[in-house]
């Protein structure tokens, strides 16, 4: 991401951005002209603030859109079901991150609770997104990225009172004041233990070396929380988020884009071992994408109860281009032949994957220049054969990536868009 140390100047500049005045770079207009437009601007601002104020008073809670949010909400949200069936959502704005919930499967949401009471510069993008997880006791863990002493730091906060209040956000990395941490991935293991994996720049002493490190920690119930950041791997491609799932032995398995010798940006698995053994890491996609660029296109992984790994990823390699799916019946040692999915002429991207027994579901988006389509494709035999792709929703505005989630009410695609708002779309 940002702040490579061979650009020390950039880092120091970024670190001070809070102090700069955005308007400074625009020189004053010629007299007369400037006055006219200042009036225009003032009138618009007054109209806007009046409108915002009214919205605030009327729609305190229970709305399906983001009108009741101070700055209109955000595009890159995350959701998770709680044990009581409530759908919890984390919504980033420019200076605050909020959590709200829905008791009617995403149709309406509660009044948002601000996580950071002190204003921060929130850092968010499709790849660098906030996360939320709720364990069986209803304890909520959230993560998000914001500027700190460094340009970007992953923060976490927890709520032990069903979302009524949250702990003061703290950095997850023990070196947060010295190195960037970002693109955090929050996941609960089968017994409800929260893990966070993130991109960390602390080991980049020689800035010509490729990629970041992956660090991770678990978040326990201790107050104040005590955790140790542990390193998993180097040479992680800087701009792609990490995917995580848990094997049948409850150990985390990560899928991420790495930089392999020759600048190849293909994917690898990392398996965390029990009993403090060294984590294992090996390459699993062989697309030969040799490029010094930021694809900003992370992969997805799911593991079934019978231990089959299912993966989905994007590549523009010389061997293949587009979105692909594959499975492995030997815990990632060998994978099936990559199966292409998505219409190549419609920029298919940002897949998510879920497995329920033999049922495997893929979701992704396609864009035809006007509309974004939300697609799904399903297999009922563990990924051997697949039904036709089906479009289940569309949008004509900016959209977030889609995510699959399920509870005892069913299986859903969670999809946010600027125009249509948040949608939880049930799958049959």
């Amino acid at each position: 991401m940002m702040g490579l140390a061979d650009f020390l100047i950039i880092e120091s500049v970024l670190g001070n951005t809070g102090k700069t005045n955005k308007k400074r770079f625009f020189r004053p207009l010629a007299p007369g002209c400037g006055q006219l437009f200042s009036y225009l601007l003032l009138i618009s601002a007054l109209a806007l603030s009046a409108c915002t104020h009214i919205n605030h008073n009327i729609t305190i809670s229970g709305t399906s859109d983001y009108r009741h949010y101070p700055e209109g909400g955000g595009l890159f949200v995350s959701t998770a079901f709680g044990p009581d069936g409530r759908l919890w959502r984390i919504v980033p704005e420019k200076k605050h991150v909020y959590v709200d919930y829905s008791t009617d499967l995403g149709k309406t949401f509660s009044a948002p609770v601000a996580i950071n009471t002190e204003s921060q510069r929130i850092k968010v993008s499709g790849e660098n997104r906030p996360g939320i997880a709720v364990d069986r006791s209803g304890r909520i863990t959230i993560i998000y990225a914001a500027e700190s002493d460094q340009p970007v730091t992953v923060y976490f906060s927890v709520s032990a009172d069903n979302g009524r209040s949250f702990s003061t956000p703290s950095p997850l990395s023990d070196k947060a004041s010295e190195a960037n941490s970002f693109q955090g991935r929050l996941a609960l293991n089968p017994s409800g233990q929260a893990y966070v994996f993130w991109h960390d720049e602390r080991n980049r002493t020689d800035w010509k070396q490729p990629g970041n490190s992956i660090y991770y920690t678990t978040i326990g119930n201790l107050e104040p929380p005590v955790f140790v950041a542990q390193k998993l791997s180097d040479t992680l491609c800087d701009c792609c988020r990490i995917a995580a799932a848990f094997d049948t032995d409850a150990q985390p398995v990560l899928l991420a884009r790495f930089i392999y010798p020759g600048g190849i940006r293909d994917h690898g698995l990392i398996k965390i071992q029990a009993n403090s053994k060294e984590p294992r890491s090996w390459q699993v996609t062989f697309d030969q994408w040799g490029i010094e660029a930021c694809p900003e296109h992370g992969p997805a992984i799911a593991i079934s109860d019978d231990g089959r790994y299912h993966i989905a990823w994007f590549t523009q390699g010389s061997a293949r281009q587009g979105l692909f799916y594959a499975y492995s019946s030997d815990r990632g040692q060998h994978f099936s032949k990559p199966l292409p999915f998505g219409a190549p002429e419609k920029l298919p991207g940002h897949p998510d994957i879920m497995v329920q027994g033999k049922r495997v579901i893929l979701t992704w988006t396609e864009f035809d220049g006007v509309k974004t389509q939300l697609l799904i494709r399903q297999s009922n035999d563990g990924g051997q054969t697949w039904m036709q792709a089906k479009s289940i929703a569309e949008s004509t505005a900016g959209v977030d990536f889609p995510f699959l989630l399920s509870n005892n009410h069913g299986t859903f695609v969670s999809w946010n868009s600027k125009k249509e708002g948040y949608r939880l779309i049930p799958l049959n």
């Binding site: 991401m1 650009f7 950039i10 490029i291």
Partner: protein
């Protein structure tokens, strides 16, 4: 159109007019919205140019900056346009990076529409958004699009292609 949207549009008109009258002291960022790519083509009719698309969150792009800066100095005859795909809220970071790399004087743009997918598609319907992305356009605006960091030699080869 919501009041907020009207307000944003008015703000952009305001900022755009400011840009016209402003001097190149601090990097001036033009708002890149639907139609801006065509506008760039129209503004540069019959003229070869290079369009560099980057982001403050793209580490590969930052690696590219020093070389771009030296190319800009050594080949002032070649028109270089830069477009940051960052949110407007990151405008100050964009400016500071441009300033530190002495790229303030060139024509700079920043994404100014929530539907970034649409902006991307208008530039190139086959581009997935990986960065840096550089387009080399000859005087007839026949173009070559390249993803990833380029070497000095790569740039020279591609310049030859568009300058002849």
């Amino acid at each position: 159109m919501s009041l907020k949207k009207i307000f944003s549009v008015l703000l952009f008109i305001f900022l755009a007019l400011l840009n016209i009258s402003a001097q190149a002291e601090k990097p001036i960022l033009n708002a890149f919205t639907a139609g801006s790519y065509q506008q760039i083509l129209t503004n540069n009719a019959n003229q070869p140019f290079m369009l560099v698309i980057w982001s403050v969150t793209c580490s590969s792009c930052l690696k590219d900056m020093a070389l771009l800066s030296s190319i800009h100095k050594s080949r002032p005859e070649l028109k270089m346009i830069m477009l940051a795909t960052d949110d407007l809220s990151a405008a100050d970071q964009v400016q500071q990076i441009l300033e530190k790399n002495q790229l303030s004087g060139i024509e700079n743009w920043i994404y100014a529409d929530d539907n970034t997918q649409k902006l991307q598609f208008e530039i190139d319907p086959k581009w997935y958004g990986e960065m840096p992305r550089t387009y080399f356009l000859d005087s007839a605006h026949l173009r070559t699009g390249v993803s990833g960091v380029l070497s000095k030699e790569d740039y020279e080869t591609l310049f030859k292609k568009i300058l002849n």
